[in-house]
């Protein structure tokens, strides 16, 4: 029986950048917007497409189809992270704010970094360097499509580091705790770049992009806390959250 473990090869699945090759800057923002809109996966259309394929099944297959569609609806829903978790992580007291600050300032042990995270430095450094040259909204959009998209794509669909082939042709990789910390730091830095650009020039689909990087940050915050005592604390935090339901 074919299982979900088998999927298309990674070569068959191209990251967004490869599907929508970047246009030369001279082509103009309007043209780029048109290409972006054409290539963009719209959640409601994606679910409609999936439903049209899955709704004809019966019996046991229908039972599974219902769950698959349910997972899609939850994944595409407003916010990529449950409201309960969002509330739980929201700093409400000075102690929590201090704890969060301390966590962000945790030192990274360079010796424990691998190729799974080192790539992110170059992306953020390039974004910061290019930011100094940005003069127009069109330039800002170019920077976002070049550097921000690279950060998000490489995180969700990795091509660098210790790669393992997963289902659907998606490659996964292992992270050390320090890898997660470095990625977290760089994702937070990229968020600041986005916010600065938006303030100065306005960014297309700013809210959606911030939601993407916030989701990445939340995942990395959890990943970087999964060791020893921190793992215990994370599990206790999860238990507390679950008991509130």
């Amino acid at each position: 029986m074919k299982s979900f473990e088998t999927g298309p090869s990674s070569e068959q699945i191209k990251p967004e950048e490869e599907i929508t090759p970047e246009l030369p800057k001279e082509e103009g923002l309007e043209m780029r917007k048109a290409v972006a809109e054409q290539a963009e996966l719209k959640p409601e259309q994606a679910i409609a497409q999936e439903r049209s394929v899955l709704e004809r099944f019966k019996g046991k297959a229908k039972q599974v189809a219902v769950v698959l569609l349910f997972v899609s609806a939850l994944s595409a829903g407003p916010g990529m992270v449950g409201e309960a978790y969002a509330q739980e992580t929201k700093p409400t007291t000075r102690t929590e704010q201090v704890q969060k600050q301390e966590k962000q300032e945790e030192k990274i042990n360079e010796a424990n970094l691998t190729e799974s995270s080192k790539w992110s430095r170059g992306v953020v450094e390039s974004a910061r360097a290019d930011m100094k040259k940005i003069k127009t909204a069109e330039d800002a959009e170019w920077l976002v499509r070049t550097h921000f998209n690279q950060l998000v794509s490489e995180y969700y669909m990795p091509t660098k580091g210790n790669l393992k082939e997963g289902p659907y042709g998606i490659k996964t990789r292992d992270y050390t705790e320090d890898d997660s910390k470095l990625l977290l730091r760089n994702a937070q830095e990229m968020k600041k770049v986005m916010q600065e650009l938006n303030t100065k020039f306005g960014i297309e689909a700013f809210d959606k992009r911030i939601e993407q990087v916030d989701d990445m940050i939340k995942k990395l915050e959890r990943q970087s806390s999964y060791s020893g005592q921190k793992q215990k604390e994370a599990l206790e935090r999860m238990e507390k959250l679950l008991q509130q339901r």
Partner: protein, 89 residues
């Protein structure tokens, strides 16, 4: 009485999924009404291998949605179709 969510939580915690993935999958289900979780609970309770399969399906969908990758979404749906056809046999 245990809620559907509580029962799903227990099944996921008994699974071999890494802890961070258990948490991610559970957080997905926190977004749902408890009643809507019934089909998922039934599926997981009948065959726990579905926990792993649904988790992989969720991760792939999340990657497609986060990167706006239409080609990946299409592949996911094609894989789902193949899988469901196998179940119909």
């Amino acid at each position: 009485m245990d809620t559907n969510f509580q029962k799903i939580k227990e099944l996921i915690q008994k699974s071999a999924l890494p802890l961070a993935e258990q948490e991610n999958l559970l957080l997905l289900f926190t977004k749902a009404n408890d009643q809507d979780l019934e089909p998922t609970l039934k599926l997981f309770a009948e065959d726990s291998s579905w926990i792993h399969k649904i988790n992989e399906n969720y991760k792939a969908k999340q990657a497609a949605l986060a990167t706006g990758n239409q080609a990946l979404w299409q592949k996911i749906v094609q894989e789902e179709e193949v899988q469901l056809k196998e179940l119909e046999r």
